[in-house]
């Protein structure tokens, strides 16, 4: 058999095989590498920017299936001040005893000029609202392994979710807008 003939025979087979791979085995799913990931929020208290963070959360990102799911342990928040933490965890704010978890699940994932836009329901303090979260996604080589970097931010209005009850609904000394920032390092895992 001449090499040319072999090549002619193989082309359809290769094409088929490539198509089969694309359908049967899509790219990996990514989950969080907790130690290198941050989820923080900035709020305005008495005219000054103050910061808090969540220490426990999980993220699962499937670029091919266009799915992004985030779970936040609301009890893991910290604003760096014990007195403030005690009131923020209480009934008037996060009410972590009744609402220990917040969830965001993207039901739509669109490509944008700078990355992605994930749109879906965010459930926080028992209230579900549709939010749109823009983020960037990069695969980089770190410490000899390939990891995904998922980074972005979005602005939420705390009162939409009932974060701030009673007198804490006023926004002059405690702003309504809260900027949530995330920088997540993610590792590919088997599906």
């Amino acid at each position: 058999m001449s090499p040319a003939r072999i090549a002619r025979l193989m082309i359809p087979w290769l094409a088929l095989r490539t198509a089969a791979i694309a359908h049967a085995t899509p790219g990996p799913v990514y989950t969080l590498i907790g130690a290198h990931s941050t989820l923080t929020y900035t709020f305005t208290q008495a005219g000054a920017a103050n910061q808090g963070r969540f220490k426990k959360f999980t993220v699962r990102f499937d670029p091919d299936a266009k799915r992004l799911a985030v779970r936040i342990d609301m009890r893991s928040f910290d604003t760096g001040d014990a007195q403030r933490n005690s009131i923020l965890g209480g009934r008037d704010f996060f009410d972590v005893a009744r609402y220990p978890q917040a969830r965001f699940t993207a039901t739509r994932l669109e490509r944008t000029s700078s990355g992605y836009l994930a749109t879906g329901p965010l459930t926080l303090r028992g209230v579900t609202r549709t939010v749109a979260v823009p983020f960037t996604w990069r695969i980089v080589e770190t410490d000899g392994r390939r990891v995904g970097l998922l980074e972005g931010s979005t602005v939420l209005e705390r009162l939409e979710f009932g974060v701030g009850q009673g007198e804490w609904r006023a926004t002059e000394w405690l702003g309504n807008a809260v900027t949530v920032r995330f920088a997540l390092r993610m590792a590919p895992v088997a599906r």
Binding site: Q45, A46, A48, G80, D81, E167, E172, W173, L174
Partner: protein
């Protein structure tokens, strides 16, 4: 008019003196109420105003000090005994020192607590130190001690002003008041010259 003379304080010195005096009164009230209130929006608002006013006082006192150093201050009354002169100078220096140290310790307190200071919700000031609970508690004690010291020195200052005005009947108080360039002040100035 604006500048000091040897006989009396100029308009700018007078304005800054009485403005700071009024702000100190408001400041003490805000501080006491702010500390007494339970954790609430009212406490947040009161302490935020206390911080804003404190920064305002710091700026006004620094302006006043620079203005004072840029020109001669009125001479102390000639009838003072040497120890009274020393006491007067010490009192005035302490007032400047305390009015600078009090806002600064308050600012350090807020920074150490991790609550950045904003000037009337308009301008966020940088933190002077990184977060430290022990430093915060130490600064609370220093801030309170300085406030008590300010109270003592102010009492002395006011008592001296009253004595000069009502007992010694000289122009010490009057020359810090607008529109009372008394004949006596002018006369004494003429005599000195």
């Amino acid at each position: 008019m604006l500048r000091n003379t040897r006989a009396r304080w100029g308009a700018l010195s007078q304005l800054l003196h009485w403005l700071v005096a009024a702000l100190i009164a408001v400041q003490v009230a805000l501080g006491l109420v702010g500390v007494a209130l339970p954790l609430s929006m009212a406490k947040l608002a009161t302490l935020a105003r206390h911080k804003s006013l404190g920064i305002t006082i710091l700026a006004l006192v620094l302006i006043r000090l620079l203005w004072r150093l840029s020109q001669p201050a009125p001479a102390l009354p000639a009838n003072l005994k040497p120890y009274e002169r020393r006491l007067a100078r010490l009192t005035h220096a302490s007032l400047y020192g305390l009015l600078i140290a009090l806002p600064l310790t308050g600012w350090i307190m807020s920074s150490a607590r991790g609550f950045p200071v904003s000037w009337f919700n308009l301008l966020q000031l940088p933190n002077l130190v990184t977060r430290s609970v022990p430093l915060y508690h130490a600064m609370v004690r220093v801030h309170i001690a300085l406030a008590v010291a300010l109270g003592v020195i102010l009492a002395l200052h006011v008592a001296a002003a009253i004595k000069h005005h009502f007992v010694l009947k000289d122009d010490t108080l009057r020359r810090m008041l607008p529109g009372t360039a008394s004949a006596r002040a002018e006369a004494s100035e003429t005599i000195k010259e």
